[in-house]
Subunit: 198 residues, 2 copies
DNA sequence: CAAGTTCTGAACCGATCAATACAAAACAAC
DNA sequence: GTTGTTTTGTATTGATCGGTTCAGAACTTG
């Protein structure tokens, strides 16, 4: 029995997330968040309590969305496991080179936040740890399946290979953010996959 | 015919560099820089003109120092080329896990700055581009030598393999910053090297 | 319509931001 | 020692930081 919100909380969260993604945590001011969301300061602080909590929710939302998309690719039963890993790497390339708001890759909010905050913000570190574990779990399972059906030839442990693929993905994102062109990043993906399948 | 500096400019620059390395550009205040260098504000602004220029010089110094160290490893004529690449990757692991000032890896100031600034600071982007080109040049030459002497078996182009190794290095640093343990990061290095030599 | 609750906008908080002004101190050259 | 220049510490600039306060508008409920 009170006045209802005039805005959609999820839409606001999404706008905030994109702002943190583009500028990072420190370089995003509360005024930037007001402008991006279209909300007043009161509405933001009333809803999200602080810049830090708004960031934590933005990051959690991003990681969840991305992990779901990754899982969808990796669990596509219509393809052999090795092809799913290839599709994942190709998706990273597409992510980095499509939809560039200002002609430059924004990279990955997970990677960006690892660099900016993991060492000094325990909650961010916790979210990132959980996300890494989740993605490694899916990746490892798919790679193990690929080793069983022969589409992945490497004899290394599937956990180690999963960490390897995950690290290469991070490296591809850094390369793209550093200005590497699409062919260069794609060739990193191709080379990395070669280590798995042959 | 005037009063000489009471401080060593290089030592001050080094202290500033370490501060930017640990906290990033945005999260480092000019007061932090005064404390770290032991200088007053006047001395800093008199010597380095602005926070931005001090950062640019810090980054340039870091990149130069690191690239020299990398070149030293890669151009060690006493080892076959493939072993030099292995030594480089092992050095990255050692860098990330030795000398951790607060129990966490600081990562690499080059990678950190790519994430934080490459998209929005043209001078930082220029320094990072030049550094990447330099490191890729050395890496590619060593890989090509390894392909000639047979220590590197991959038939891919040496430039593509150099970009690959460079991306893996970036991924290893992100993984370490994200909390991966030493064995995990070392296994990424081993797996990556496997793609080259076999 | 009246009562009760929540939301919203604007003004405002002390703190801190990067950067500057300025005068006194410190030194080199003569 | 005097002159001329630079450095240095302190005080201070206006702007912006993240966050709060508060009054009144807005809306649900009865």
């Amino acid at each position: 029995m009170a006045r209802p919100r005039q805005f959609d909380e999820d839409r606001a969260l999404d706008a905030a997330m994109r702002t943190f993604w583009e500028y990072g945590y420190e370089a995003t001011s509360t005024q930037d968040l007001c402008t991006a969301t279209g909300l007043g300061r009161s509405s933001i602080y009333n809803t999200f309590r602080s810049k830090r909590e708004l960031f934590a929710r933005s990051l959690a939302r991003y990681l969840d969305t991305m992990a779901e998309a990754q899982d969808a690719v990796l669990e596509d039963a219509s393809r052999p496991p090795a092809e799913r890993v290839r599709a994942l790497l190709d998706k990273i390339v597409a992510d980095e080179f499509d939809h560039r708001p200002h002609g430059r890759s924004l990279g990955c909010l997970g990677v960006n936040s690892t660099v900016e905050l993991a060492a000094r913000d325990p909650e961010a570190a916790r979210l990132l740890d959980r996300d890494a574990a989740r993605r490694l779990r899916t990746l490892s399972a798919v790679i193990a399946a690929g080793q069983r059906d022969g589409s992945i030839a490497s004899a290394r442990g599937s956990d180690a290979l999963a960490r390897y693929v995950n690290a290469v993905i991070g490296g591809m994102r850094i390369a793209a953010q550093g200005g590497a062109d699409r062919a260069a990043v794609q060739s990193v993906a191709d080379t990395a996959l070669g280590a798995l399948i042959s």
